[in-house]
């Protein structure tokens, strides 16, 4: 069952996307692909958890992270961790750079939902892809 873990910096948007995926239009596909979303609280992760620890947690649990992460500088940043520890079978990190548009652009959220479900449909093809942008 594909699980998307919503990062703390995008929790509101993640929940909104998840609600949209359960709307009358999308819920059949969401159910067929058995997708579910979880928050840090759902999985017992501390809000202070570092990028590298979250990435390792996701890989160990079989989760894909949804983030709008904007940190690249340090050795334990998400980007550095993906490059250093990622393999051809690693689960991707879904990145939403324009997260504000989830609230302001109705078409944008539909594109995000479609792209996310599309990626999940082809789950085997996106392993090892590192960071995947939405939409």
């Amino acid at each position: 069952m594909p699980v998307v873990l919503i990062d703390a910096n995008i929790e509101g948007q993640g929940i909104r996307i998840w609600m949209r995926m359960q709307s009358a239009e999308w819920r059949e596909l969401t159910a067929a692909l058995e997708v579910t979303f979880k928050t840090f609280q759902d999985v017992g992760l501390d809000l202070a958890t570092t990028d590298d620890a979250i990435w390792r947690f996701c890989q160990a649990q079989g989760f894909s992270l949804l983030t709008s992460n904007r940190n690249q500088d340090s050795n334990d940043s998400l980007e550095a961790t993906i490059h250093r520890e990622g393999t051809s079978t690693s689960l991707p990190v879904f990145t939403l750079p324009s997260a504000d548009r989830v609230y302001s652009d109705a078409t944008f959220i539909e594109r995000v939902v479609e792209k996310l479900l599309d990626f999940i449909l082809y789950a085997d093809n996106i392993r090892g892809a590192g960071r995947l942008y939405l939409p």
Binding site: E25, L29, I54, D118, Y133
Partner: protein, 125 residues
Amino acid sequence: MSTNNVRIVDIGRGPQIEGHRITVMDVFYYLHRGYDFDFIQRSMPSLTREQFDVIVQYVNEHQEELVEKDCRVEEFHQRGIEAQHARGGIFAAGGEKLSTEERVARLKAKLNQKLMERDGAGRSH
């Protein structure tokens, strides 16, 4: 930088709230684009008003360097998006102006195709 309870620290991933993974850059993204506390807290419900106020104070004192860093992050993401789209297939851009019904139908067709391929592969073994 701190108030009584909230401190901005840098433990190697840029300035962030002590004890919380939300960074100044996470919040600055919204501030720089004109969003207020209510909008930002809708995005990050775990962000308190006190934490936000300390970040705003930090932003006011480091505006120039944060603008520059925000530009670099945007450029980084733009390069990543272009590289992803250049891979084609499921990585290609899907920005067409379609209705939700058309998007759902398009994805259902892909799902059905994949199920047929899987069933076909199962029968051939």
